[in-house]
């Protein structure tokens, strides 16, 4: 089981900030992202953003990084704080 978090415009577009997902086998962030997009709208267009950032366990991670069971995975747009 992994936890998915969505922030800012993604959270609003998807209508949720958090969900839990069962992972059959270890997969990469890219594979997870593809799987989510295959759900259709609003996933397909919301997560089809070349500026999308991903984090595993609160650290920014590249698309090829593997997700392990129990991980917290977050999707968010470029940050605009400060």
């Amino acid at each position: 089981m992994i936890t998915l978090l969505y922030f800012a415009r993604y959270r609003e577009a998807l209508g949720q900030e958090k969900e839990q997902l069962e992972l059959d086998s270890p997969c990469s962030l890219q594979e997870l992202l593809d799987r989510l997009r295959e759900r259709g709208e609003p996933w397909a267009s919301t997560l089809n953003d070349n500026k999308l950032l991903m984090a595993i366990n609160q650290t920014i991670a590249p698309a090829e990084q593997l997700i392990n069971d129990g991980d917290e995975v977050a999707f968010f747009p470029p940050v605009t704080g400060g």
Binding site: L5, A8, R11, K51, Q58, P77, V79, T80, G81, G82
Partner: protein, 155 residues
Amino acid sequence: MDKLQLSIQTDDFNIEDEYQYLRQGNSDSGAVVTFLGQVRDFNQGEAVSQLELEHYPGMTESVLKKLLEEADKRWAIDRAKIIHRVGPLNASDKIVWVAVASAHRGDAFHACEFLIDALKTQAPFWKKERSATGERWLDARDSDQDKAQQWMKND
């Protein structure tokens, strides 16, 4: 007292109190440089304008802690503190405060500017503007990315 401090909070803060806290038991520092970011009046002429600050609890603190530690490695710092507000904010409200105390003012200036530049591109905060005409998420600015890149070149 911790040398490196950070606070994510909804409440406003008093800069004089924060300054007193920074120098408490710290009479070695001759220089304190601070950066304050405040809400700009982005809807001049419109009656209502508000900013909503969202963040990623946990990751925010861990990113800011790493940035403070990096600043501490690169410059001679006696104390440093970052305060960042979240939640709804109004025009002219304080958003972020970065303060660095050092025996050397050049170090205080550099560390303070590095911290705010890095915060703006690395810390997971997002701003949404609300006005009478609607609301929109702010876009990240290329100029912020450029500023952050500069600090890596200087390594």
